[in-house]
């Protein structure tokens, strides 16, 4: 992936040099579906991050809630003139606001755990590939054992022992995800380690840490980015599932899983919107991330490159 494009000759007129990044952007723009999905995701992400500014009410401030507005169907008007476009839940929360706040929590948990897991996993993978031998065997066996058990089972067990909380769910998600990063990075670092530029760096007597993090790591990034995208979508789904089961986030935190679980009580009496809309928001988010990830895999895969 390295080398040839960086030194590619300038295009006509010599105004634009084709850098790997520019080529990446151009390749990515080829799929209209992926660009659309990225747009949808950006919109959802921005709305969730700005939820305290744009949402009609703060759904977790009890003073703003009126129990008389509970379980109103979509489109009804509350006591103080607020329109519930997607209805309200049993405590009189506006569903639009509740969904935005819930999404913000989902993103924060997913991104934090993703970054931490990427850091841990990348370090494990890099060291395993670079030092090899028994060190590598032990680390990779640990990863194998972890991957033999389904993610949801590990999360359930950890949370049963640790209890609820944002920090604890982030910890559980890191434990679950690091193995995927470790495997991916190890696989590509093993290939990179044998290349000439690493040998050259060795001859220059550069320190090991510099070779690992400044030379080998940047060349392992493409598959890492793909894994990262897919893992963010997975951890959003997993966090929602755990919260739905009542073992994830505590009731005080805004969360889509908890909203859906609350709505579950009323679904048998036909009050569908409390569960339906948060699920739809979750679905759109996950699908858009997966579509972007799918296309990234094609763009970043050297075998498919023209």
């Amino acid at each position: 992936m390295s080398g040839p494009t960086a030194s590619a000759p300038p295009t006509e007129g010599g105004a634009r040099v084709e850098t790997p990044f520019r080529r990446f952007v151009a390749d990515f723009r080829e799929s209209r579906v992926a660009v659309g999905a990225l747009g949808v995701f950006a919109l959802i992400f921005a709305a969730a991050m700005l939820c305290s500014l744009i949402s009609p009410q703060n759904p977790y401030d009890l003073r703003q809630l009126d129990i008389m507005d509970g379980k109103l169907p979509p489109g009804s008007v509350s006591g103080d003139g607020l329109v519930f476009w997607l209805g309200s839940d049993s405590q009189g929360r506006d569903m639009v606001s509740a969904i935005l706040y819930g999404l913000r929590t989902s993103f924060l948990v997913a991104v934090t755990s993703g970054v931490l897991a990427a850091f841990v996993g990348t370090s494990v993978g890099l060291f395993a590939a670079y030092y090899g031998g028994r060190f590598d065997t032990v680390l990779m066996r640990m990863v194998d054992i972890k991957l033999a058990f389904p993610a949801i089972l590990i999360a359930l067990v950890l949370l049963a022992v640790l209890g609820q909380g944002v920090g604890k769910i982030v910890f559980a998600l890191v434990i679950i995800q690091y193995a995927y990063y470790a495997r991916t990075v190890r696989a590509s670092a093993l290939v990179e380690r044998r290349k000439e530029y690493v040998e050259a760096a060795h001859c220059l007597a550069l320190p090991k840490s510099r070779i690992l993090f400044r030379h080998i790591l940047p060349n392992c990034l493409p598959p890492l980015i793909v894994v990262g995208t897919i893992q963010i979508a997975n951890s959003i789904a997993l966090e929602a599932t755990l919260s739905f089961l009542g073992v994830g986030l505590p009731i005080t935190e805004p969360s889509l899983g908890l909203l859906i679980a609350n709505g579950f009580e009323y679904i048998l009496s036909g009050v569908y919107w409390i569960s339906f809309f948060p699920g739809l928001a979750l679905l759109v988010t996950i699908v858009s991330i997966n579509l972007v990830g799918d296309h990234l895999r094609d763009v970043l895969n050297p075998r498919l490159q023209k």
Partner: protein
Amino acid sequence: MTVFIIRRLMQSALVLIIMSLLVFFGVFAIGDPVEIFVAADADQAERERAIKALGLDRPIWAQYGYFVVNALAGDLGRSFVFNIPSIELILQRMPATLELASCAVMLSVVIGIPLGMFAGYRPESRISKTIMATSIAGFSLPTFWVGLMLILVFAVELGWLPSTGRGQLGEFLGIRSSLFTLDGLAHLALPALNLALFNISLVIRLTRAGMRENMPMDYVKFARAKGLSQKRVVFVHVMKNIMIPVVTVIGLEIGQVIAFAVVTETIFAWPGMGKLIIDSINNLDRPVIVAYLLITVIMFIVINLVVDILYSVLDPRVRLADAGKS
């Protein structure tokens, strides 16, 4: 072959020992074991008796010995809620989960393979494109939300199928199961479909990929040149080749299905192990949690072992690769 199996067995034993150590230290290092195995409302005499019985007055390595011996004897404390031994409780609930999981796997084969074969045989047709789009949704939809929507549509709006419980059990050859009564089957339909959805999508994609890969191959052309009917070429020759990856993946997915049954069982109030563990976590019924942990660990080790051995029987290349690695 024997060497391979012996090696795999030893590996599994090692994993089992590591996992039992992890569970032991998880239970004994993080929390006070007396708190975990003795109910909070027990009196002093009862506590003392439990401490003696569990060997908690011994040094830590002896405690681990007690823990293993007790676990092997099937004694990991009594459930606080049901007041029966926790292992017995879990074994009671296991058939319901296995029934649900096996039905889900069966559904994914019965629905997934034909749809996938069609989508691979006619990749350009509109029906195939619809099948593939639906399968992407099947991957991305959170299981628990699909379960709710199934209840909303089929139980609440249409009123066709019941949404909670296992229904009437029938007995056949000494096995009690929902499969043997109409009422039981009606109760099984929605949870099994919910649990199967992810795997249906997976099987569709695998089968389609296999179909597209195999159709242009020489052996297909040769079979056609021999004058065989298209039906025979597709359903005998191509099918055999598609099945290898599909069978492997389904084997690996059985564990996933059992784990994900936790979610489906909670939604449909299915009285299996999964619902039991969630209830136990909520009730702080710790002996059941510990027992569940150990039993699922053993279950997964056995499943992985069986799949690995079967795989090496089906595909000799795996065995060779493993032998060459060390």
